[in-house]
């Protein structure tokens, strides 16, 4: 039996839908978390030019491929949102599943990447660069996985034409995950 929503949830004194307001606040706090981490990384990197040696090891092509995967998955999320707006829950669910598939691909590729790097001796304790590399990319990957899981639940609801407004919300979150990667990619892969 669906949870009975209080009237509070249905009101909108600002005119903005409550869910959208909430997700933007979530994003604000996430921006500060990743901002703090990446800011710290930047300061260290500028102070440690020798890290360029380690940075050269990361595979720019794989990073670029993963960037492409994430961007595409953001695109399918947008298509899902459009379908939800039309009231087409089943179509929205299909696009969300494609997005989840993109997430899975991203994680799969990253797993291969890390397996390769670790087996060649580049672990999280190797040096400062690798410590940040695994921590930042790892935190990001956790957000990808968590987002994909939640997206799964929303897709199930959407298939049943329920809570279609949530498709947009998870899409916004997904774009954020994408944007964090857009920052990570140059910092970890391109700046050599």
């Amino acid at each position: 039996m669906a949870f009975p929503k209080p009237q509070a949830t249905l009101r909108s004194s600002t005119g903005i839908p409550t869910g959208r307001l909430a997700i933007w606040w979530v994003l604000a706090s996430e921006v500060v978390i990743f901002g703090g981490l990446l800011g710290a990384y930047l300061m260290f990197r500028l102070g440690h030019p020798e890290w360029a040696e380690s940075a050269a090891v990361t595979n720019t092509w794989i990073g670029a491929f993963n960037t492409f995967v994430l961007l595409t998955s953001s695109f399918t999320a947008v298509l899902g949102h459009q379908a939800a707006e039309r009231g087409d829950g089943k179509q929205a669910a299909k696009f969300l599943v494609m997005t989840i598939f993109g997430a899975a691909t991203f994680i799969g590729v990253k797993s291969y990447e890390w397996w390769y790097e670790i087996s060649h001796g580049y672990t999280i304790t190797s040096n400062g660069f690798w410590a940040f590399y695994y921590t930042a990319a790892g935190l990001h990957a956790l957000h990808v996985i968590a987002g994909a899981v939640i997206m799964g639940f929303i897709a199930v609801d959407a298939w049943r034409n329920r809570e279609l407004q949530r498709v947009e919300l998870i899409g916004i979150y997904w774009h954020f995950v994408d944007v964090v990667w857009i920052f990570l990619f140059p910092l970890l892969y391109i700046a050599k």
Partner: protein, 570 residues
């Protein structure tokens, strides 16, 4: 009327109503904001007892070094460090925040804006559950091999990062985990509060019709959300240093201990305003009600608070003047820190000005609210000594700092809590508290509070440093005069703790046998007083209220009565 079965949790008590899951499941599974508020309130107060016990133990050791403390035993240097670390951490993260923000925020926001619950009741429940988990992890950390973390609540590495240095390696990681879980719980809670205040207001309630306590709790939540991020990142890095041997903070491996300090204090300074703002909001609402006065400059109060919040992001390194930062940076932070005193002073002046032209009744809640102002002023002005780098060189890490922040934190966490608790008790529990016992408790708390901490100012001025378990090793600090001051402080603490029994007795007897509370015992204006005491599930089952005016229309010339509830049509 609702059924009332009695269940006693840690000397505290609840009132129940019938809705949804029954019995014990109700407490684990309710999504009602009022029940979640009670969960936070009682958990927070329970942790307050634990934190107070820790203070009792280490103050006994300080005044009577080597004594076998009744109820604890002898205090070893390692145990001393664990006690002060966990006392500080508990009081800030597991008492002040859950009680002032989570409990009163949860209870009051929907009621004061005329809503039936928070916008995301299930996330609300989840946030408490995560919070409860953080409590369990923290308390468990006290009993692991090595004992509780002993690196101070500030947890500076390398001490906090390396087990061999702090000798509490398991406790250290569990402490860190507990803090991280607490942060996540409050991030989730904050989303609820902010969104609910923005979107779920009663029809007719414009932004400036919102009671200031709600505004201030939400501003505090926003401040928290925007400042805690870097520390979460830093905590992940510290956790990795502790557990898998990364070197984020290890100079031998290219790391930097000062990085932690910046990440910590970038959050740590706004954090003090995160707890201050709710307490000030409570004080304002209580003063308005019992002075029967419109607040002097609602918008001014709001803007100075927002200004203080914004400025609070630019002062953090005043905690690090002598930490090894570039000395030129210290000058910048002296300037910003001194400047932040301007909006805070203005806020204090405006609150004091609210009394002008009023008709002041010294009820127990009013005594607490007035005491908040009187005592917080001491805390505020003594901060200036620490914000000015040239003076801080001497005062840093002395008991002067400790006395300063207790003169701010105690008003915030204890006085503010008692003001709120005695004011909203009738609404929350449906009974009136005994006012005479309330006043005995008040004086029995306030007077000893001052006789605890004024001696500590004196000790600090005499050069006594912090976090030292036994001053007998320092000839200049081991004199009789110094020990007399320590004894005065400790005995005052014992007296203050004894008087808290009056409070617990009052709570229990009032809840059990006190006179039934009407809807609006204080003749106040805000919406929570328009429904039953305690409110039923859904708050206004017969229909949510509309709003026609601001929250502080006391003494309006057009009215016969000296108050004008927000929900009465014109």
């Amino acid at each position: 009327m609702a059924d009332t079965a009695i269940t006693v949790h840690h000397d505290e008590h609840h009132a129940h109503e019938h809705h949804g899951p029954q019995g014990i499941l109700k407490y684990l599974w309710s999504t009602d904001h009022k029940i979640i508020a009670m969960q936070y309130l009682f958990t927070g107060m329970f942790m307050g007892v634990i934190g107070a016990f820790m203070a009792y133990v280490f103050r006994m050791q300080l005044a009577f070094p080597g004594i076998s403390v009744p109820g604890f035993g002898q205090v070893s240097p390692g145990e001393y460090n664990a006690l002060v670390t966990n006392h500080g951490s508990i009081m800030i993260f597991w008492v002040a925040m859950p009680v002032l923000i989570a409990a009163f925020g949860n209870y009051l926001i929907p009621l004061m804006i005329g809503a039936d619950d928070m916008v995301f009741p299930r996330i609300n429940r989840l946030s408490y559950q995560i919070f409860l988990l953080s409590v369990i992890v923290l308390l468990a950390s006290l009993f692991v091999p090595g004992g509780g973390f002993g690196g101070a609540w500030t947890a500076y590495p390398p001490l906090s990062a390396v087990g061999e240095y702090n000798q509490t390696s398991i406790g250290a990681s569990m402490w860190l985990l507990a803090v991280a879980l607490e942060f996540i719980a409050f991030l989730l809670g904050g989303i609820n509060f902010i969104t609910t205040l923005m979107n779920s207001r009663a029809p007719g309630m414009k932004a400036y019709d919102i009671p200031l306590v709600c505004w201030f709790i939400v501003i505090a939540s926003i401040l928290f959300m925007l400042s805690v991020g870097p520390l979460i990142a830093g905590a992940v890095m510290l956790f990795f240093d502790q557990t898998i041997g990364t070197g984020f903070y290890d100079p031998a491996r290219g790391g930097d201990p000062i990085l932690w300090q910046h990440l910590f204090w970038f959050f740590g300074h706004p954090e003090v305003y995160v707890v201050l703002f709710p307490a000030i909001g409570i004080t304002i609402d209580v003063i308005a009600t019992f002075a029967r006065k419109k607040v002097f400059g609602y918008k001014l109060m709001l803007y100075t608070t927002v200004a203080t919040g914004v400025l609070s992001f630019f002062v953090w390194a005043h905690h690090q003047f002598i930490a090894g930062i570039d000395p030129r940076m210290a000058n910048i932070f002296t300037i910003t820190t001194l400047l932040i005193s301007v909006p805070i002073a203005e806020l204090c002046f405006v609150i004091i000005a609210t009394l002008y032209g009023g008709s002041i009744r010294l009820t127990t809640p009013m005594l607490w609210a007035l005491a908040f102002m009187a005592e917080f002023l001491i805390g505020g002005v003594t901060g200036i000594f620490l914000g000015a780098s040239g003076a801080d060189v001497y005062f840093h890490d002395t008991y002067f700092v400790l006395a300063h922040f207790h003169y701010t934190f105690f008003p915030i966490a204890i006085i503010g809590t008692f003001a709120a608790f005695t004011y909203w008790f009738p609404k929350m529990f449906g009974r009136m508290m005994d006012d005479r016992l309330g006043k005995i408790h008040f004086w029995g708390t306030i007077i000893p509070f001052n006789t605890i901490f004024i001696p500590l100012f004196v000790l600090g001025m005499g050069g006594q440093h912090r976090r030292i378990y036994n001053y007998q090793h320092f000839p200049e600090l081991a004199g009789e005069g110094m020990y007399t001051l320590r004894e005065i402080a400790t005995i005052s603490l014992l007296v203050m703790l004894a008087f808290q029994l009056v409070f617990f007795y009052n709570c229990i007897m009032s809840w059990w046998k006190g006179p039934k509370a009407p809807k609006n015992p204080w003749n106040a204006n805000t919406l929570e007083w328009t429904t039953e005491s305690p409110p039923p599930h859904g708050n206004w089952p017969e229909g949510l209220p509309n709003v026609y005016r601001g929250p502080y229309e006391y003494g309006h010339p057009d009215r016969e009565e000296d108050y004008w509830p927000q929900n009465l049509p014109a």
